[in-house]
């Protein structure tokens, strides 16, 4: 069985083609289309990915203009019927601004654009983006953002509902201040909705799925895409 995914292209997306490449050429079981945001029709797809980039130039706030795009109205239908709605980096920012996900992404506390490999600890392994992982797995993956400092005024609720999916950690899984690249609250790197079909996080799995791109030859990024496939299969069966 092949699952059908859409990768939405906004004006200013720049990880769209990388994501399409990994979905179609690296990961098994996925057929993915690149879809311009005004033309996206949810009925053709099993899931949707909002890729990284600078949609609409990050004007006003990263993600806010894209959050009003017709693609988000279509994605809301998928959100409501349980299909995966996934955001990486700028896609995560869009999902929080569209209120699919709780919280917001603020300017990094260093004020710098940070582009480096980090370690990510898995905190919830039942979501659409993490079901092929084990709790406490530590994954190598790059980040590349200026606005990635996760903030919420409702931390307790997120913790109680198990909505924190990934945290920045050391290689050994310790949640230290040094391992937190951007000042995110409680080292939070990614969160999900209550139904766990919508997940967003700051890192770039499409840049971590081929050994040739990875400093330690890891391909942990594939786990994220395999999780999306598995989530769709379980949902359908």
């Amino acid at each position: 069985m092949t699952v059908k995914l859409a990768v939405i292209q906004f004006a200013g997306s720049n990880c769209d083609l990388d994501t399409i490449h990994v979905l179609n050429n690296v990961v098994d079981g996925i057929e993915a289309d690149l879809v311009w945001h005004n033309l996206f029709k949810e009925s053709k797809y099993d899931g949707v990915i909002l890729p990284g980039g600078f949609a609409f130039g990050d004007y006003l706030r990263a993600g806010i203009i894209a959050a009003h795009s017709p693609a988000i109205d279509e994605a809301r239908v998928m959100l409501d019927d349980g299909r995966p709605v996934i955001g990486f980096c700028n896609g995560f920012q869009i999902l929080t601004e569209a209120q699919f996900l709780p919280g917001a992404l603020l300017r990094n506390d260093s004020l710098k654009f940070i582009c480096k490999w980090v370690n990510l600890k898995v905190e919830n392994n039942t979501t659409a983006l993490s079901n092929k992982m084990n709790i406490r797995d530590v994954l190598a993956i790059p980040i590349a953002h200026a606005e990635g400092r996760y903030y919420t005024d409702n931390l307790k609720e997120l913790e109680e509902n198990n909505q924190i999916v990934f945290r920045y950690s050391t290689e050994n899984g310790e949640l230290t201040k040094e391992a937190n690249p951007n000042g995110s609250l409680e080292n939070i790197a990614g969160v999900c909705n209550l139904e766990q079909n919508c997940v967003g996080f700051m890192p770039h799995p499409e840049r971590a799925s081929e050994a040739i791109l990875s400093p330690k030859r890891t391909t942990h990024g594939i786990l994220f895409f395999n999780s999306i496939v598995e989530f769709i299969k379980r949902r359908i069966s």
């Binding site: 006003l60 706030r61 806010i64 959050a67 009003h68 929080t96 601004e97 709780p102 919280g103 917001a104 603020l106 300017r107 990094n108 506390d109 260093s110 004020l111 903030y151 919420t152 005024d153 000042g183």
Partner: protein, 89 residues
């Protein structure tokens, strides 16, 4: 009633609980280092100047408030919206 042109000026600022590294940097790394040590806090934000047509100042203000809320011009999770000034333009 004739519609007139108004200018509404607003600011979007991080809530006090959300750190503002831009303001912190201006205060710590510029002002304090250059002798302005009496300055102990700077907060940065965004400023928008909006020109619109409305029947009066009150309506102009209400339209801006409504659009800011409906379209999330400010993010209520992290920001406060302040209307600084409403004037005829």
């Amino acid at each position: 009633m004739n519609r007139q042109e108004f200018q509404v000026e607003i600011t979007l600022m991080n809530k006090p609980a959300a750190r503002d590294p831009v303001g912190e940097t201006i205060q710590k790394d510029l002002l304090a280092k250059k002798g302005y040590d009496m300055v102990f806090n700077v907060r940065s934000g965004q400023f928008l100047s909006i020109n619109l047509k409305a029947t009066d100042e009150n309506e102009a203000k209400k339209i801006v408030e409504k659009m800011c809320n409906d379209l999330r011009i400010f993010n209520p999770v992290t920001q406060n919206l302040t209307i600084l000034k409403v004037s005829k333009s």
